[in-house]
């Protein structure tokens, strides 16, 4: 990982915006938050309109041939980018770690996907590790807790960066929850196929969030956040579930608290 970072210029090169399919379809506001953040940084953000999905849903269900097709489309769309930034640890893990398994039998696709993988970054990782920025001028009076999402934490080894970014948002008080590193039970199709197990895991997560007394839970992966919000809303809890991009774009509480 560090090797890949070293190659990148620290200058403000244009960045290509890899919009996770769940953000695109369910939460355009998260993507708008990313746009705001880069605008404030003065970094041009290119948003390739042909992008769709990195292929992870098929890959995680074992459908490699179909995942490969989606991945090929992804590589074609993004391979000329200087840097690709994505507000999701899970999607970045797919590109960085799973594409090489997916393309193991095809040297040319392997090489193309590898070049792309080296230039693809998760949002908080890109801001903190590559740009060296922590304070983004965001403001929000909020007591919150941070959720470690699994692919971000275990797959990419990112846990410090989002916390640093959150701690630089003026007005926030961050409280650690118990077992933040423990899976919320989302796991894509797992949540649908094994609802008993998944819901039991999620109930623990909500208990741990509630125990912090936080008004909001902030995370870096919209899948996990939709999962948490799904049960919170079902139970009628007054918990705000936020993506870090929304928080970093906020210039006040009113910007992001939308129920």
């Amino acid at each position: 990982m560090t090797g890949a970072h070293a190659k990148l210029p620290k200058a403000r090169h244009p960045v290509s915006f890899f919009v996770p399919c769940l953000v695109d379809a369910f939460h355009p506001g998260v993507a708008a938050g990313v746009v705001t953040v880069f605008k404030r940084l003065g970094i041009p953000l290119d948003c390739p309109p042909g992008q769709t999905c990195c292929g992870q849903p098929a890959y995680n269900s074992g459908y490699r041939r179909q995942a490969r097709r989606a991945a090929q489309h992804f590589v074609r769309v993004f391979e000329n980018a200087d840097a690709v930034v994505c507000p999701s640890g899970s999607c970045v893990q797919m590109v960085r770690h799973h594409y090489r398994l997916l393309f193991a039998d095809s040297p040319s696709w392997l090489a193309r996907s590898r070049r792309l993988a080296e230039r693809t970054f998760e949002l908080s990782e890109y801001l903190v590790d590559i740009l060296g920025v922590k304070a983004l001028g965001a403001r929000c009076t909020l007591r919150l807790t941070y959720l470690d999402s699994c692919h971000l934490l275990y797959g990419l080894g990112i846990s410090r960066q989002p916390r640093q970014l959150i701690d630089h948002v003026r007005g926030t008080v961050r409280v650690e929850m118990r077992d933040s590193q423990r899976c919320c039970g989302f796991g894509g199709a797992f949540a649908v196929r094994y609802p008993e197990i998944s819901s039991a895991m999620l109930a623990d997560k909500l208990d741990n969030i509630a125990a912090t007394g936080a008004e909001a839970v902030v995370g870096c992966d919209i899948g996990c956040l939709m999962h948490i919000a799904g049960m919170a809303r079902r139970r009628g809890l007054a918990l705000h579930v936020l993506h870090i991009a929304q928080l970093l774009a906020a210039r006040g509480r009113g910007d992001l608290i939308h129920g």
Partner: protein, 485 residues
């Protein structure tokens, strides 16, 4: 579905949920801290991985070396192709030595091959001597955790069990219960004809098996009876003692955050001239039982690196919910989710391959850095696409067709937008509550069993980008996400 509900009944048992949560909170973080505190640092896990990889690559040579050295000391070595052969060898040995009572050290491989039931059926009294295993055996159950076999039983349950089976006054005081077990077991140790153990790790260079325990029962089981039969999965070997140094330290840390187990026994054969104790007859049964088939597949070979420490069970959030019995085999937790399908059939154990959230905590906890999530994904690929080597056909061909359509859609943004528009139309038909989708139709209904789902936004984010001229296709900032349909 009734089967599934029964298997996951653990979820509704608050006592068991508490016990599993306690176990994980005690051992999970402690093992991680123990790796950090290693003199060589946590990178020792990767070195251990390389040691295991080398041993598995050289397995035939190492096993031959081990067998040769043990045979030269007068021990017997038997290579069992499957469970039946391993069990038959033990029964035959017991018959030859007129064994009436056997004492057992804790061993997962004997659980795998169903040894206890076979011995009991042959009229040989077989007594587990590890306290947890003893409890489970008295209760007529199976272990639910590799190193904490009775984790599913409460103190009170054990108290009632001991009162009934050992004729002691009812108590739930652990020291009193432990002393009662100890008294009962001591008699068995002193009269047993055969000691049966597993093997934690063999050493090819010296021709020994190493056994770890914290209760001292293994030493009694391997020195007091006339006959000792040790069972090992054929992968449980290292080339030399310097490898043992690394692997056993990691094993103790992964299993219980210990620097080292309380007792380590190295055994290389029967009692030698001049020795004061040890069995007259020593047998090592090296069990294949499907391992060669795994060894021959480069995708899954890595699961043979496992040293059965249970560190992955101690962090797995799925294990914490469903408990060990739900895995339906001797091997539970993430390791079992890979190993059991490979041994018993991938389709038969498809719930183990699919019923994981792929969080990756197991890999981070593994003392030998086994990439369990990668193998779970590979198993899913076998299920989805079929696999010639493992002789399975696709589990759900229809899902494969649907996935074909999905991949056709996502390889073109226009098709993708059309599909999203279609989904947005369909969601109009679904019931909502407070702006959230409240009930989804099959096959998505599992989600709404306990969770709502946000509806699709009125317009995907990318649609806004594509409306701009390509030259300036900078992403739009405004109009956040309150434009729900």
């Amino acid at each position: 579905m009734a089967e599934v509900r029964r298997r996951y009944r653990t979820i509704g048992d608050p006592v068991l949920q508490g016990a599993l949560a306690n176990l994980q909170h005690r051992l999970g973080p402690a093992a991680a801290a123990a790796y950090q505190a290693l003199p060589e640092g946590p990178a020792l896990r990767q070195r251990a991985h390389a040691i295991r990889a080398k041993a598995i690559a050289d397995l035939d040579v190492l096993l031959a070396e081990l067998a040769d050295r043990i045979t030269r000391r007068g021990g017997h070595v038997f290579f069992a192709a499957d469970a039946a052969e391993a069990v038959a060898y033990c029964l035959e040995t017991a018959r030859r030595h007129r064994v009436k009572l056997a004492v057992k050290g804790k061993s997962m491989v004997t659980e795998e091959i169903g040894l206890n039931a076979a011995l009991t059926a042959a009229g040989i009294e077989t007594v587990e001597t590890d306290l947890g295993e003893y409890i489970v055996q008295l209760a007529g159950e199976h272990p639910s955790h590799i190193i904490a076999p009775a984790i599913h039983k409460t103190r009170a349950e054990i108290g009632r069990l001991f009162a009934a089976k050992l004729n002691i006054p009812l108590t739930d005081d652990p020291p009193t219960l432990t002393r009662a077990a100890r008294r009962a077991l001591r008699k068995k140790f002193l009269t047993a004809d055969m000691g049966i153990t597993g093997v934690n790790l063999a050493c090819a260079a010296t021709g020994h098996i190493a056994l770890l325990s914290n209760e001292g029962n293994i030493r009694m089981a391997t020195t007091l009876p006339r006959v000792h039969v040790a069972f090992m999965g054929m992968e449980r070997i290292a080339a030399q003692l310097t490898d043992h140094d690394i692997l056993l330290r990691l094993l103790a840390r992964g299993a219980a955050a210990q620097k080292m187990a309380g007792y380590i026994s190295y055994i290389g054969g029967p009692r030698q001239p001049g020795h004061t104790d040890g069995p007259e007859s020593f047998h090592l049964v090296i069990v294949d039982n499907g391992r060669s088939r795994i060894l021959a597949d480069r995708t899954f070979r890595e699961i043979l690196y496992c040293i059965r420490c249970a560190a992955c069970l101690n962090v797995c959030p799925v294990y914490a919910k469903i408990g060990g019995h739900a895995y339906g085999s001797a091997y539970s937790g993430p390791l079992g989710a890979v190993l059991t399908p490979l041994m018993k059939g991938i389709r038969r154990a498809s719930d183990l391959c699919l019923g994981e959230s792929l969080c990756g905590a197991c890999r981070a906890a593994c003392p030998v850095d086994i990439d369990i999530p990668r193998m779970l994904l590979a198993l899913r690929s076998c299920l989805a696409e079929g696999d010639r080597y493992w002789q399975i056909r696709p589990l759900n061909p229809l899902a494969g067709r649907l996935c074909d359509i999905w991949s056709w859609i996502v390889s073109d943004r226009r098709r993708y937008d059309a599909a999203l528009a279609c989904a947005r139309f369909c969601q109009l038909l679904l019931p909502r509550k407070n702006g959230m989708l409240h009930r989804l139709p099959p096959p998505f209904s599992g989600w709404t069993s306990s969770r709502d789902l946000e509806p699709l936004a009125r317009r995907p984010f990318l649609r806004r980008c594509s409306r701009q001229p390509r030259r300036h296709r900078e992403a739009p900032e405004s109009g956040a996400d309150r434009n729900r349909s």
